[in-house]
């Protein structure tokens, strides 16, 4: 077996993982994250399907392997480059926003699944064929596969910085073609040279003439671009997303503005990231002492006090930063993780925001705010959180986003950072039925109850406008003078106090009436006592229990056991638009599980149902497929907090895990491959997983202040031993199988592929329902299944 095969498999694996990340990126721009996730999950079943086909036709393919391998790899590259152009035809009619109201969209969705399934299927078929044909060398082959994947993950970051999204498939498609060229057999050189040249020409053409990305007409940017004279004036691409600055003479921004405002709401440029709203480019004046936010409920903390030191978390385009300076703050720490957007604002857009981020009072920190909070020791008079939700709601689109800034622990961290006159301020859009408002309130009350505060009601203030509510958590009890000021402000703006010591029922709805008092009753339940709040959390139709670091899904409100009731009450086509994100994960899980069952069972009709290591194959490889991904997902989530950047955390963890697992796989070639050895290795993996499950968060929190380089080294050191052992059972299992019953090797490849896809959706569901700790416990159980399967055979 030539070295070319190792390079070839490495190149192919690198390009497949990079293509997966690229597709996710592009589909998130064209549609939304959750649909991108659903489409790619189904597409990744190509791995499982390749195993099914191999189980049926491996002999035929092996006998033609010298031609099959280069052909499959070249074909994989060709489909990677052309699938986006092809999807233009499909996406011409497909819009994920309409899928629950327009049945015709289902056909388009199936076509989309099929389109994106093809490159993964062909690529996986090539890899699977190599494993089946050269199973004796599986240790080093699997090493090349994992090592390539690790490099592919890192390389995709580089590609995101360099090329525009529509060019990326063409760029990455070159690599599988190159992998194929490496394996061209001498006797077929002539014909393959022609095929190769033609195959490289297509990506070249598509690189210079990339297909236009047709965005859903319901994306924020699509609506902005429909406005008169709207144009994209600036564009940047990076792993942080595709940033576009839109200018139109009709784009205005004044969220929840009081009807007492008599001025002109100015026209703004707006920044969009992946087609979604990022923030308005706001000019401000150093000379002014008023700001349009003074006419919103966001002004509440400045009515109460005159904060000197302010922290603005997720500062975005700097709206709240400018407001703080206008209100006299002497130091404003702006924390924003999107470096590209911030750099754009600090440099090229500086004239449009009056050089806000170069102002002497502004300290800019390019990190995830929670990570910054954990590593920062300063004190603040005011900590401002970003506005929760958007006007009209996002229908649960962000349900599966980990929001470490909105967890119970995050609020405790913020509380600890407050000075004696300190405040935490958070604004949320009123939503119907009430979810965000109640969850914010619950989180604030839990925070107060966890401190030594005597009367929590004296530390909680809230003001409600026609569309927004601003909550303020105050370190010291509110004074009578401050209460008076709030009342005056509230009345002058046609706002109503929601929580204020001594508030009357009438005061709560003097200007902004609700249809009934239900919202007030629910809010009062949360404030009244911990027991009442608990009762409400259990009985309410939506999940409004405060998020925690273990379950950091603030925007996830769906309760599965209330789904049928909600469907009956709101209508089947309405429910998805209340809580679409989590629902899509559920639907994805059902789809891929059903498809996986078919793909796993199908080969048994041909290779027979009974005996000969079939049970072992199912148990051993299902355990690995589930366990590996469970661990990977939890580690990525934990390290997001550690590094303060989801993109780099994901890349670092993914690459470190894959490369170290690859090393484990390589080492496994030196082992005999007995069941006893696999039992010991699986046992070691289980011990590591449980140790990580218990201690990892503590380790991360206690070392979060380390310098970045040290953090990277430390995290690799943490990941390496576990990943090293995790890389061994798969190749060892295949080797054992090749000795006991060779016909099952392709089936095992398929089972592992199917379970790996199922496990990503399952891990998310478990994390939401029970928390990350339980995902780790289940990962240990999954490896336990592998252990038992081998123990039974040893």
């Amino acid at each position: 077996m030539s070295k070319r095969l190792f390079y070839s498999i490495g190149l192919l694996s690198a390009s497949i993982i990079a293509f997966q990340l690229i597709l996710m990126h592009i589909l998130s721009i064209m549609q939304w994250n959750h649909f991108a996730y659903m489409i790619i999950s189904v597409a990744l079943l190509g791995f499982g399907a390749s195993g099914t086909l191999l189980a049926l036709k491996s002999k035929w393919m092996i006998s033609r392997i010298r031609v099959m391998l280069p052909l499959l790899m070249i074909l994989c590259g060709l489909t990677m480059s052309s699938i986006l152009a092809l999807s233009e035809i499909i996406f011409g009619t497909f819009d994920s926003y309409l899928i629950f109201v327009d049945r015709d969209q289902l056909y388009s969705l199936v076509l989309t699944y099929l389109a994106f399934f093809i490159p993964f299927f062909i690529g996986a078929l090539a890899i699977g064929l190599i494993y089946v044909a050269y199973v004796k060398k599986i240790g080093s082959l699997y090493f090349a596969d994992l090592f390539g994947s690790g490099i592919g993950g890192l390389a995709s970051l580089l590609l995101f910085w360099t090329f525009f999204p529509s060019q990326l498939p063409a760029v990455i498609a070159v690599f599988p073609v190159m992998a194929g060229i490496l394996l061209i057999p001498r006797e077929k050189k002539g014909i393959f040279t022609v095929i190769s040249v033609a195959s490289l020409a297509l990506p070249l053409v598509l690189y210079f003439n990339p297909p236009e990305l047709k965005l859903s007409e319901f994306k924020s940017i699509s609506k902005a671009l429909d406005l008169p004279d709207a144009e994209i004036v600036k564009e940047r691409t990076s792993p942080y997303g595709h940033i576009q600055v839109v200018r139109s003479k009709s784009l205005r921004y004044a969220p929840g503005l009081s009807m007492r405002f008599k001025g002109e709401v100015p026209v703004r440029d707006v920044i969009y990231c992946n087609g979604d709203w990022f923030g308005p480019v706001v000019s401000w004046s150093r000379e002014d002492t008023t700001h349009f936010l003074d006419y919103t409920t966001n002004a509440l903390p400045y009515v109460i006090n005159k904060p000197e030191r302010v922290m603005v978390t997720n500062s975005g385009t700097g709206l709240f930063v400018a407001h703080s300076i206008v209100k006299g703050a002497s130091s404003v720490t702006a924390v924003e993780q999107n470096r590209v957007a911030v750099d754009l604002l600090k440099n090229e857009l500086a004239p449009d925001i009056d050089s806000l981020f170069s102002h002497e009072s502004v300290i800019l920190e390019k990190l995830q705010p929670r990570s910054y909070l954990l590593s920062d020791t300063s004190s603040y008079d005011l900590i401002i959180l970003p506005t929760i939700e958007t006007f009209g709601g996002t229908s649960g689109i962000h349900a599966l986003n980990e929001q470490y800034l909105l967890t119970q622990e995050a609020f405790m961290d913020m509380w600890d950072r407050l000075t004696e006159k300190g405040m935490i301020s958070i604004t949320t859009w009123m939503d119907y039925p009430a979810r965000n408002t109640l969850k914010v309130l619950g989180t604030l009350m839990n925070t107060l109850r966890s401190t030594d505060v005597v009367n929590p009601e004296e530390h909680l203030l809230a003001l409600r406008g026609w569309g927004t509510v601003t909550f303020v958590l105050k370190k010291k009890p509110v004074t009578d003078a401050q209460i008076e000021k709030i009342r005056e402000f509230s009345s002058s703006m046609y706002f109503d106090p929601l929580f204020l010591p001594g508030i009357t029922k009438e005061e709560r709805a003097e200007y902004n009436m609700l249809q009934d008092d239900k919202f007030f009753e629910l809010a009062d339940n949360i404030v009244e006592s911990e027991e009442e709040a608990e009762k409400l959390y259990s009985e309410y139709d939506f999940n409004i229990r405060p998020a925690t670091d273990n379950r950091p899904y603030f925007s996830q409100f769906l309760k599965w056991n209330r789904l049928s009731y909600l469907t009956e009450f709101y209508g089947a086509s309405t429910v998805p638009f209340l809580e679409i994100g989590y629902l899509v994960v559920g639907i994805t899980f059902i789809q891929i599980t059903l498809a996986a069952v078919v793909l796993i069972i199908l080969p048994l009709f041909f290779i027979g149902w009974g005996g000969g290591y079939r049970a072992f194959t199912v148990l051993h490889f299902s355990g690995l497929g589930l366990g590996f991904m469970f661990v990977e997902i939890v580690l990525i989530q934990r390290f997001i907090l550690y590094f303060g950047s989801p993109i780099y955390a994901a890349a670092a963890v993914l690459s470190a895990m894959l490369i170290c697992s690859g090393a484990g796989s390589y080492y496994s070639s030196r082992l005999q491959g007995s069941h006893k050895e696999i039992v010991k290795i699986s046992g070691a993996v289980i011990v590591f997983i449980l140790l990580y499950g218990i201690f990892l968060t503590e380790i991360i929190l206690s070392t979060i202040t380390f310098p970045m380089l040290l953090k990277i080294i430390f995290s690799i050191g943490l990941i390496a031993p576990l990943a090293f052992f995790m890389g061994m059972p798969f190749p060892l299992g295949l080797r054992t199988l090749s000795v006991q019953n060779e016909t099952l090797v392709p089936w095992a490849w398929g089972i592992n592929g199917c379970l790996s896809v199922i496990s990503t959706a399952l891990a998310l569901i478990i994390a939401v329902e029970a928390g990350f700790f339980w995902v780790m416990v289940l990962a240990a159980i999954a490896y336990g299944i592998t252990l038992l399967a081998n123990y039974a055979k040893s």
Binding site: Y97, L98, F100, V101, D102, S216, E217, F218, K219, S222, K223, D226, L227, P228, K249, S250, R252, Y253, A254, P255, G256, L257, M259, R260, F261, K262, G263, E264, V265, F391, G392, G393, S395, M430, Y432, P433, W466, G467, Y494, E510, Y511, N512, M513, L514, Q515, D516, K518, E568, F569, Y570, G571, S573, T574, F577, L578
Partner: protein, 235 residues
């Protein structure tokens, strides 16, 4: 002498086309009746002029041809440019909320398909409607003209500024919700006038907000239909 032979099939063709048209028109009329009965009246809409208008206006004409067969369903429908024709109940409910009557002058922000404007034009004396997306505005303008609504004017432009030349208005209906209520609109509302605005995504449970101006005092009332009338097909 060949002509008479041609006349017979041509006549048959025309007759069959007419009969298909009649059957379809009859079908739409019956769907509209059902819509009014099950989606509008059954859910508590009791404003006579609104019910009459919902019965008169041919909703299917305002829906894109590909979705016309679903025009009378209990759903909003996309009309392009990320816009929708609202669910029939929402249209009726918004209309009832501003309590329009003969002699009134109403401003609509966000013409969209033109359906809401047509409903209002059936009830009040003058309707002024503004659409910012030229393609939608022009198509609605053409359709409304074809339907002979001569008490209705469509303008392509930015609804932010309202329509000062025709102000003040007895009612303002904002169909495309915004994160702020434009100050010029509040100004152009008559003393005692009402403005209605939906809050929520097109396919979501929409919360309607009623703004009332009484002298200097402006109040809002959030109407949460879901808490007192489930607008879903429970039957």
């Amino acid at each position: 002498m060949k002509k008479p032979y041609l006349i017979i099939p041509a006549a048959l063709l025309i007759l069959s086309a007419v009969s298909v048209f009649n059957v379809q028109a009859q079908d739409y009329r019956s769907q509209r009746e059902t819509m009014v009965r099950t989606q509008i009246r059954a859910r508590g809409i009791n404003h006579g002029p609104t019910i009459k208008a919902m019965r008169n206006v041919e909703r299917h004409l305002f829906v894109p041809a590909v979705r016309r067969n679903r025009a009378y369903e209990d759903n909003p429908l996309p009309i392009g440019h990320g816009q929708t024709i609202s669910q029939p109940f929402i249209v009726a409910y918004m209309t009832q909320l501003v309590n329009p009557g003969a002699g009134d002058k109403v401003l609509e922000i966000g013409t969209g398909s033109g359906y809401q404007a047509a409903i209002l034009a059936e009830i009040v004396d003058e309707v002024y409607t503004i659409e910012i997306i030229a393609e939608l505005g022009e198509s609605a303008q053409k359709l409304l003209k074809e339907l002979n609504y001569d008490n209705l004017e469509v303008k392509i432009g930015d609804g932010y500024y309202g329509w000062k030349e025709h102000a003040p208005f007895d009612a303002i209906v904002v169909t495309a919700a915004a994160e702020y209520i434009p100050p010029p609109l509040v100004e152009q509302l008559k003393d005692g006038g009402k403005m209605v605005i939906p809050v929520g995504s097109p396919f979501m449970v929409q919360n309607l907000m009623l703004v009332e101006k009484k002298g200097e005092r402006i109040t809002t009332r959030s109407i949460m239909p879901v808490t007192f009338v489930p607008f879903t097909r429970k039957e």
